[in-house]
Assembly symmetry: C2
Homo-oligomer: 327 residues x 2
């Protein structure tokens, strides 16, 4: 984590001790007790044109993705979606854009049982979206970042690296490769939040986070909050098939530091291994054991021989990275 | 209401039938049932630099106001604040600005018992704030826009016109008048949401809205949602003392169409007149009876002789007004 990074800003200026029985800033969602024996989970995310999405992004995909990344926070908390709100700043009223955007948004909202219940639109120089999702989870069942324990297995859902590869191809950072781009683009444009998996893991897994800024960085948040160390096994990481044949350095970066994956990284007692594998099969979501929690602090990446692998780029931070990274 | 206005965009692209027992887009807040016999109230607002606030706005006042305008939506619903989230786009990290902004924000959050529980910061070309507030209100007690009835009194809290006058003076649309500006500026910079009044009115008043876009326009939303007509009595409107001596046209505009007032306009049975006046005295909030609801549709403004007054500018619409109105 770097000085002046986005996490640092939140911690420095906006974090305050949470009131009694609440969980405040610093997890995938905030939690508030409800009298029904449940907790209310809340998460908010802002997406800025030129930073989080390209100005010519397909509006229907953007509508889908803007909601998906927020629902992914509910999934990582094990919460069931209740509703969402949307605030939207636009430079001008473009009816074709709005129709497509809202269609993409509502289609996922319907599928996820997360109706849009509040909105605000205003004019601004750039397209800025801000979405807040509300969900509920049974009291003390939420998958908090600070609940991992030494000895836990570390798991990852789905596959990693596809969205990162798609972004590099789109930005021209790799030689054009239309076939590979076709294979990985859906992962970037239309990620599916792991809501069902998250809900079934609530009460089973200890801790969870969604992989939005890269596995190393996001897993690091669990370790930091839970005061333990972790190992990740490079050869065990579930790579998207389209990563086959890539340069090894690039492949590692995509797996370990690639953002936008929206898969769940979670920890659970070894006792639950078989049940978690069965759950993955039932939900048709691959779940892969990729490491374990150890005493100490920080994360070590080990190769097939158990040797530590040096790692460079650790993830994505909207403020620490140079401006205009997507533009 | 004009075509392509902000309300039209929400209705056209984002409004969907609300699920059972929920109130969706189109009121001050959305409502969702909680198992505790309460409803969850949610509201979201976005503020863009150059449109909703001046680029050189005092950051502490901005922090206060950004939260205040959202709390005002809870007040207008009769809801008790639970918590809020903040998403913030900034062109660069300015520590002095952030320290002042967060201080103004948290001071009002503390005072209003509305802790910040979630946040997102990102880099963007302009300062954009998006805040979501959560509150709760006893089931069927919420002050919905569609609950006004023919025969109701129309009330306004506090005074009107000060924020509008302050904005005109700051934008140089009126000759400089430092003394008057000093008197009205707090109303623009540090509005106080009428949370207590709203909570006590829940279950007593029928309908309420907060005056953010001008009394005529906001009162019109109640009439439209409740399918009735309304009268406003020009001479009864509670003008801020600093409006004394202003040109009559300007004064009327400030009273009827001036935005940013964040007072409550509410309707209640005549039976409750005395209790509402007592409540105002107890809370030390002026409450003034300014009209009544009648059969029909639309709003008529009457002068002291009961004659209809022609009215020009009806309120403020971020999309319908020419771009850059504040810049």
């Amino acid at each position: 984590m770097q000085a002046d990074g986005e996490f640092d800003l939140i911690a420095r200026y906006f974090k305050r001790p949470a009131p009694d029985r609440m969980l405040g800033v610093g997890d995938d969602c905030a939690l508030m007790p409800l009298s029904s024996g449940c907790e209310l989970a809340v998460s908010t995310d802002m997406l800025v044109e030129g930073r989080h999405f390209l100005p010519d992004a397909d509006p229907a995909s953007l509508g889908h993705k803007a909601l998906a990344v927020n629902l992914s926070d509910l999934a990582a908390m094990g919460a069931r979606p209740l509703a969402c709100t949307l605030a939207l700043s636009l430079p001008a009223v473009d009816h074709a854009w709005l129709a497509a955007f809202s269609e993409g948004f509502h289609a996922l909202a319907r599928e996820s049982h997360c109706p849009l219940v509040g909105g605000d639109t205003t004019r601004g120089d750039a397209v800025v979206l801000s979405i807040t999702v509300l969900g509920e989870v049974r009291r003390s069942h939420a998958l908090r970042r600070d609940a991992a324990r030494v000895g836990d297995d570390v798991w990852v859902s789905g596959t990693l690296g596809a969205a990162d590869l798609a972004l590099r191809l789109l930005l021209g950072r790799l030689p054009p490769d239309p076939e590979r781009l076709r294979a990985v683009r859906p992962a970037l444009d239309r990620p599916m939040p792991r809501l069902k998996l998250g809900r079934y893991l609530a009460g089973v897994a200890h801790a969870a986070i969604d992989v939005s800024d890269g596995l190393l960085q996001d897993f690091g948040h669990i370790l930091q909050a839970s005061h333990c160390g972790g190992e990740l096994w490079l050869d065990a990481l579930p790579a998207h098939p389209a990563l086959a044949g890539l340069d090894e350095t690039l492949r590692r970066e995509a797996l370990l530091a690639g953002g936008d994956a929206y898969e769940l990284c979670f920890t659970a007692r070894p006792l639950w291994r078989e049940q978690i594998e069965v759950l993955g099969r039932q939900l048709n979501v691959p779940v892969t054991r990729v490491g374990r929690l150890v005493r100490g602090e920080g994360v070590r990446v080990l190769d097939g021989a158990g040797q530590a692998v040096p790692v460079a780029r650790r993830g994505f931070d909207h403020f620490a990275e140079p401006c205009g990274d997507l533009a």
